[in-house]
Point group: C2
Chain length 191, copies 2
């Protein structure tokens, strides 16, 4: 068993950085007995949401991303607040970032954003029949532009590199695999 090879010796918090805390976990690898620190980011769980309008568009957001210092095309998303249900977080972030509200929100799945160096999950939701009847509420450091893109073009947007955020690509993969499980044959058809 691979699990049994790794013996956790100690875990310590190194520094806090608003949206994540840096930790060092010390492990001994058996049977060799080698020891090393493994660094990881502890963060709240995240959510993202694919908002579909009645006419088959995805409500997307453009925003500046400070890691890459560029503007990206993404779906709405954010952090789950302490004690908040992930589905409630999805509905909240959708409305806050885009002003859209959904008739129905359901979970499509969840991923580990990076199981090697992060502790948290990212839950993906589908929001159906969304309409712009809600109230925008941007964070002090959010500057977001809302854009609509046909769901039928999302595979092309990924292929052409217009959509490059791994968690957004993974979200659409969950949509496509859930459609496949439901019996649709197309890889990216609107249901």
């Amino acid at each position: 068993m691979i699990e049994k090879s790794w013996r956790l010796l100690a875990s310590r918090s190194l520094s806090e950085h608003r949206i994540f805390t840096l930790h060092a976990d010390r492990y001994r690898l058996e049977p060799e007995g080698r020891e090393s620190d493994f660094f990881k980011l502890d963060a709240p769980d995240w959510i993202n949401v694919i908002p579909l309008t009645p006419d088959g568009n995805v409500v997307m957001v453009r925003q500046f991303r400070h890691g890459i210092r560029e503007v990206t095309l993404e779906i709405p998303g954010g952090m789950v607040d302490p004690g908040e249900d992930p589905q409630a977080a999805a509905a909240r972030e959708l409305e806050e970032e885009t002003g859209y509200v959904a008739a129905r929100v359901r979970q499509l799945g969840w991923v580990w954003p990076n199981p090697a160096i992060q502790t948290n999950r990212c839950y993906t939701f589908l929001a159906e029949d969304v309409v712009p009847d809600g109230k925008l509420a941007h964070d002090p450091y959010e500057r977001i532009e809302v854009v609509l893109r046909p769901l039928s073009e999302v595979a092309s947007l990924i292929q052409q590199g217009e959509i490059r955020h791994a968690l957004v690509v993974a979200a659409f993969a969950h949509l496509w695999t859930s459609e496949k499980a439901a019996g649709n044959t197309g890889g990216n058809s609107s249901s």
Copy 2:
């Protein structure tokens, strides 16, 4: 233009952690004039690779992931070495982690693993007609089990939660969208 709202004031390195360096970038948001630090991880580019055997299996790896303290089912992957071509890194990691070598390796696309808090890219490759004729070369802290899974079952493995690494899910999304662009209709068919 959203880009023009963000003025980079300073960038400083905070700490080094073997596989990434922690940085703080200070921005002023215009026109409000608010200032804040944005934290990010600077890391080498990453690669992952979907290795396909002649009979339609994907060569996958099981390994303990220290962020989540669990064993995951993934495709081979790793860091691009300094000066290394990403495609060469894919062929190298495939052989080192699994012992398989490929007749052909081609790039399917690339993603930002996390454009909000990381600077790096992850390139995805397809390795075709792989055979176990290479030489395993695990890192001192790698403990990897190789398992084969039919490509035709990958969508189900994602749907059922057997595959949860976001970059692995995104890799298969690239395979499916590239197949779609090539004219196949199935969402996850083997080509």
